[in-house]
């Protein structure tokens, strides 16, 4: 049989088609000269995506640059952005990066420098502690998109019914929780608190670390030595464990409670107090999202702790960031986005629509304060906020932290064993990587 040109041509066509199946999609030609009129921005599902859907319209009007948002499932986000950044994909021009991964991604050389993107004038408007988080090895690679901290939300009516007041320290918090726990007005079981105790997406870390910091504990000392197993750290974890296993003031299914479930417990009126993100304010305190409880809910600073005669405060802040992947082919457009989001104009839109930018001017803007009544305490809360150690080894350290905390809450190990194990494992990693001898 003679090999026909048709057969050869068909084979070549199929080969080319199989290669094109691996292509990551249609790519615009790199811009030459003027800023591109379009960029692609990636963000995970949730309030940040909802916010961006609104904020981008203002950006597009003011700059003439359109944005396509690539919305990615929250639970798969870390794996997705790691793969995209490491592979040098051109898919995105701006990425909403989780703060815990920033150092690792910067060290891997996957981020575009923002060194000359934000003007000195705008830099002077940014919250210094937050702005510094975007630096790696002396260069700016990220703009903190959200400087979330945590608040103490409480049911004013339930506390008042029992003659209680919002807790100012953890002793009062426990007393309140014990009195609030029991059969509720509808016969349903009420709880004095609800928290996150699971390991999925480091869930327990985002709740417990508030208690940890508010007890006056720290992760590392100034020499990068682990000190979370200090008396304060162990006491904080023991308190957290006892809320569930000794006092039974939290629901039994806390291991399965995530951010949304925590809100749902509060929205359904089953919980009297909760430590939750500032971003939950629109969820818990607006009629649209919490019709049963919004007008009965108050918010204030996370309770403090009396430590050696001193009253200490603390809460966890996270610093998710806007970054530009090094492989982006529309850097000029991405730079324009970063510049705008850093400015008072962009930060204002971001704030009005529910998030917490780091341009300090928005916290004094009357229009913003009207839309965000929670900002009345935001400035004060920010003073006490602390972040998880920002190191390239962050993901590994966080995994060890989370795993052992969860084991302690489940009763598999004691609080002391958990903290000692964490300290020992962190020490191995930090010594190996040369942080100390």
């Amino acid at each position: 049989m003679k090999a026909s040109p048709f057969a050869i041509g068909l084979s070549v066509l199929l080969t080319v088609a199989s290669f094109s199946a691996f292509a990551s999609g249609k790519q615009e030609a790199p811009s030459s000269g003027s800023a591109p009129r379009h960029i692609v921005l990636a963000v995970f599902t949730g309030p940040e995506y909802s916010n961006m859907e609104i904020t981008k319209n203002v950006f597009e009007k003011q700059t003439g640059i359109s944005i396509t948002i690539d919305q990615i499932g929250r639970s798969a986000y870390e794996a997705k952005f790691t793969t995209e950044l490491m592979s040098g994909s051109h898919a995105w021009d701006v990425l909403y990066l989780q703060g815990e991964s920033f150092q690792a991604m910067a060290k891997a050389g996957t981020l575009h420098s923002l060194q000359d993107v934000i003007s000195k004038k705008v830099q002077s408007e940014l919250i210094p502690a937050a702005f510094q988080k975007g630096y790696y090895d002396g260069k700016l690679y990220a703009l903190v998109a959200n400087w979330h901290t945590n608040y103490y939300y409480y049911r004013k009516d339930l506390l008042a019914n029992d003659g209680l007041t919002p807790a100012t320290d953890w002793r009062e918090f426990l007393t309140n929780a014990q009195k609030l726990t029991g059969p509720g007005p509808n016969g349903q079981q009420m709880y004095g608190d609800v928290y996150r105790a699971g390991t999925a997406n480091n869930s327990i870390h985002f709740n417990f670390s508030n208690y940890f910091l508010a007890f006056g504990a720290k992760w590392l000392n100034s020499k990068f030595q682990p000190v979370m197993n200090s008396p304060q750290g162990i006491a904080a974890l023991q308190y957290y464990v006892d809320l569930k296993n000794k006092y039974h003031v939290v629901p039994p299914d806390v291991a399965a409670v995530g951010y949304s479930e925590l809100n749902q417990y509060f929205q359904s009126g089953r919980v009297g107090q909760v430590i939750q993100w500032s971003a939950a304010y629109p969820v818990l305190m607006t009629k649209a999202q919490s019709p049963q409880t919004y007008d009965k809910t108050g918010e204030t600073l996370v309770p403090g702790h009396h430590l050696n005669g001193t009253y200490v405060r603390g809460s966890l802040a996270t610093n998710d960031m806007w970054i530009i992947p090094k492989a982006s082919q529309r850097v000029a457009g991405a730079d324009a986005f970063i510049r705008w989001m850093a400015s008072a104009a962009g930060a204002k839109e971001w704030a009005i629509n529910g998030d917490d930018p780091i341009n300090s001017l928005v916290y004094k803007d009357p229009e913003v304060l009207k839309a965000r009544p929670d900002y009345a305490i935001a400035g004060t809360a920010d003073q006490y906020a602390g972040t998880f150690p920002a190191l390239p080894e962050g993901p590994q350290l966080l995994s060890i932290w989370t795993d052992n905390l969860a084991r302690a809450v489940e009763g598999q190990i004691t609080a002391k064993q958990a903290m000692d194990t964490i300290a020992a494992k962190w020490a191995v990693i930090l010594k190996k990587d040369g942080y100390y001898n």
Binding site: M1, K2, A3, A7, I8, S11, V12, L14, T15, A17, S18, F19, F22, S75, E78, A79, T82, M86, A104, M105, K107, A108, G109, T110, A197, G198, T199, A200, N201, N202, P251, P252, D253, V254, A255, A256, V257, E261, Q264, Y265, S268, R270, P392, E393, P395, Q396, L398, S399, I400, D403, A406, R407, E410, Q412
Partner: protein
């Protein structure tokens, strides 16, 4: 000497096979080689581009000393055994039912494959909501009849049960379809002869149906064992491997080590262990359950 026409004729099959070979190389062989190389290095996530330090079999040694590895192996073993066994029994029952001449049999057959239509993410999300302690419909049903609510997602035992229920509900139809095909291929004359000889239903099932569908059972059990061994989506969505790793199957541990903890070399080593285990299972299974054509 080979003529040009002959040479061209001999090369034609290779032209047609080229796309598949390229695909195979690009999507399977090269990643496998890359994964083997990665497993021999201690590579943090930020070292993927630059490469980590060579540690030989060090990653494998570290895994064998890692408690969570043995826990995940145990979880995976239990999931595989219980899910495959239950799916087989339910699938066989369903297949027999669908093979029976009942009214609206075609409708029941269509309904029976509905679980297979759901994607794992949708399936997992639905069951996660149904098993929710506070507002899930399952606990609502339990409390309605006077029983206590169950911590389906936050108790180690019940979380495993939740994952199993979700997976079994989804895949029993798959087993049923395979076995149904086998049942339908049995000549009806065999049943008639058996009835004439005085055999009852149980005897017919045990001596005729079961032996004749054994090859189908072999196929169904084999594929389901491989599928459940490498299960990821259902436990990831329903319980995320919790509470405290009680439902963390091996695939979830790979994901956690690789993407959460950033230990890519270790994750690659665990992936290879899984591959070797599945290959070993396939070889042993084929060796002991081979059916020769009569």
């Amino acid at each position: 000497m080979i003529g040009r026409a002959t040479r061209r004729r001999r090369l034609t099959p290779y032209y047609f096979a080229a796309p598949a070979v390229i695909y195979l190389f690009g999507m399977w062989i090269y990643p496998l080689i890359y994964s083997v190389n990665l497993s021999l290095h201690q590579t943090e996530i930020y070292q993927l581009m630059t490469g980590g330090s060579f540690v030989g079999l060090g990653n494998f040694g570290e895994l064998f000393q890692y408690n969570r590895f043995w826990n995940s192996l145990r979880v995976t073993g239990i999931l595989t055994g219980v899910c495959v066994g239950t799916e087989f029994l339910l699938g066989l029952g369903l297949a027999i039912l669908l093979n029976t001449a009942i009214v609206a049999r075609r409708v029941f057959r269509a309904i029976a494959i509905i679980p297979l239509m759901l994607t794992p993410v949708v399936l997992g999300t639905d069951f996660k909501i149904m098993f929710n302690y506070l507002y899930g419909v399952v606990n609502w049903a339990l409390t309605t009849v006077g029983l206590q609510p169950v911590q389906w997602l936050s108790n180690s035992f019940w979380a495993m049960v939740s994952v199993m229920i979700t997976e079994i509900w989804n895949q029993s139809s798959f087993v049923a379809l395979i076995l149904l095909a086998g049942l339908q291929s049995i000549p009806t004359e065999l049943y008639e002869s058996a009835f004439v000889d005085g055999a009852n239903n149980f005897r017919i099932f045990w001596s005729i149906r079961l032996p004749l569908i054994l090859p189908m059972i072999f196929v169904a059990v084999f594929w389901r064992t491989i599928a459940v061994f490498r299960i990821f989506d259902v436990p990831y969505i329903v319980t995320s491997g919790g509470p405290v790793f009680s439902t963390e199957a091996l695939s979830l541990l790979v994901n956690d080590i690789g993407y959460q903890a950033g230990q890519m070399g270790l994750a690659a080593a665990l992936s290879l262990i899984m591959i070797v285990a599945m290959i070993a299972f396939a070889l042993i299974y084929n060796r002991f359950f081979r059916f020769e054509n009569e």
